[in-house]
Amino acid sequence: MTAVDVGIIGAGPAGIAAGIEAATAGCSVALFDGHLEPGGQLIKQIHRFFGSREHRAGVRGIRIAHELWTEAQSLGVQSFLGWEVFGVQSSPSGFRLHARLTDDMSVDDQPISKTVTARTLILATGAEEKAINFEGWTLPGVMGAGAAQTMANVWRVRPGESVLMIGAGNVGLIVSYHLLQAGIDVAAVLEAAPTIGGYGVHAAKISRAGIPILTSHSIIKALGTEHVTGALIAQVDPSWNPISGTERKIDVDSICIAGGLRSNTRLAKLAGCQLAFCRELGGWLPIHNAQLETTVKGIYVAGDAAGIEEASTAIEEGRIAGLVAARSLGRDDKASSDRLDGMKERLSSLRGGPFCEGIRVAKRRIFDLGEEPCPTA
């Protein structure tokens, strides 16, 4: 049975960054992901990233994934791609991780499951899309914005010829832009709130392309019997109730839902981490302190799994979790303190500005909960 210092679940920006820091500090690291390609959501982010130079701002997400992965590999991080961790147990020497080979891998005469023990654990399990339900939402052609983005950018398949986007947060705006770049028509972007939630510069790209962004608008129902042939939309009042007489039909063959994300908490729950509900961070998430340690000693959380933010903060959180985990194993020196301070400083600069106000307050609340005495595991 393989035994490592640090086990990391999820090879997205947070997980890879955690692996880089833990390995740099001298830890043996095993990094798991159910997908064959490393990078998590980065592999579909074909746009240039925001942030500062330290966060590779101006570089496209797909390239950031490649750079991070190359660095992790060069540091000797053991990777288990195509291995989904389905179980976490505490053991005398830390934690026992049970993984299975995902379905899309079939190698003859090889075991399809394995167990690895890790002294500490970092959960970088990312997020899942929230659905918005409306009449007809189960029709073929209704999909998550992330699914449409995966089809277009990873598999190079058009999810449809004409799309209605529900949600004008950054995900809805960015995916709309990617669909336009793939030659797909976007009929409109709807937003039930009176203002656009995403960055103005993302919205400006969509508007400049001639795509209307309709605030205070929502979908009433998806039209079609076998598959989506259109959508009935309407203006909504401040309580998001449709205003009668404003209904109109839009002809589209696909409807994408960008209604936000929630942390993927299954393994955290399984491992006994206490969760808290925090609307600003997407919903339920593992309680953690500023060191990103959960209520279970030795289990850390980073990235979207620690509350929904974006890729640059995920990288910085991953670095912190990786370094703190290494320090908890005694891999500590004076330089690591300075490194940790730098990471925390960069993280707080990313969370600056009016757009992140809710997140700042919410994270502090989670940290406060995380500082309460740990229940014995």
């Binding site: 746009h47 240039r48 990233f49 925001f50 942030g51 500062s52 130079r53 701002a57 101006g58 496209r60 390239r63 058009r158 010829e161 004409s162 336009l180 770049q181 030659g183 797909i184 028509d185 009176p194 203002t195 656009i196 960055y199 103005g200 510069v201 993302h202 919205a203 400006a204 790209k205 969509i206 508007s207 400049r208 392309a209 001639g210 795509i211 209307p212 962004i213 309709l214 605030t215 640059s312 600069s349 990313l350 969370r351 600056g352 500005g353 009016p354 757009f355 992140c356």
Partner: protein, 171 residues
Amino acid sequence: MSDGIAHDGVLSWQELEHSPGYPSRSRMLKGPVAVIECVQEIPCNPCEAACPFQAITVGEKITNVPRLNEAKCVGCGQCLTRCPGLAIFLVDMSSQDGSASLAFPYEYLPLPSVGEDVDAVDRSGCYACRGKVLSVQDPARNEGTAVIKIEIPEAYVHHVRGIARSGGPDE
């Protein structure tokens, strides 16, 4: 006019007027100059480092709105492809013959050809006027963000910010 960027994705005149990234008309008449249409406090600063002439300042706090020093800007256009928001343009009104040029980042295929007559569009994607493509720059170092320069009537220099996309499923 619109209610502004947060309402329909189109900057209002008022927002542009108060933006520290929008150069004066007198500076535009002198030659090419960057027009930074970034008015929200978001954590982003690559434009600052992109400028070889220190004409763009964000400062210590990366959520500051970029400020253009129009006297220092020489209109080199380095910042156009470094802005992740594709929110920087280059305007030149120095010809004084009733025409002006506008350069903008463009990430759609196919790219237009030099000399082509195109439909110039405003910030809401609506047709504004005809334009002529003066140059198309798409070097490998720009990593997929082309810079298109078009000639438009001077009167449209504050309105036009792109061209109608060609291609797509219907064409």
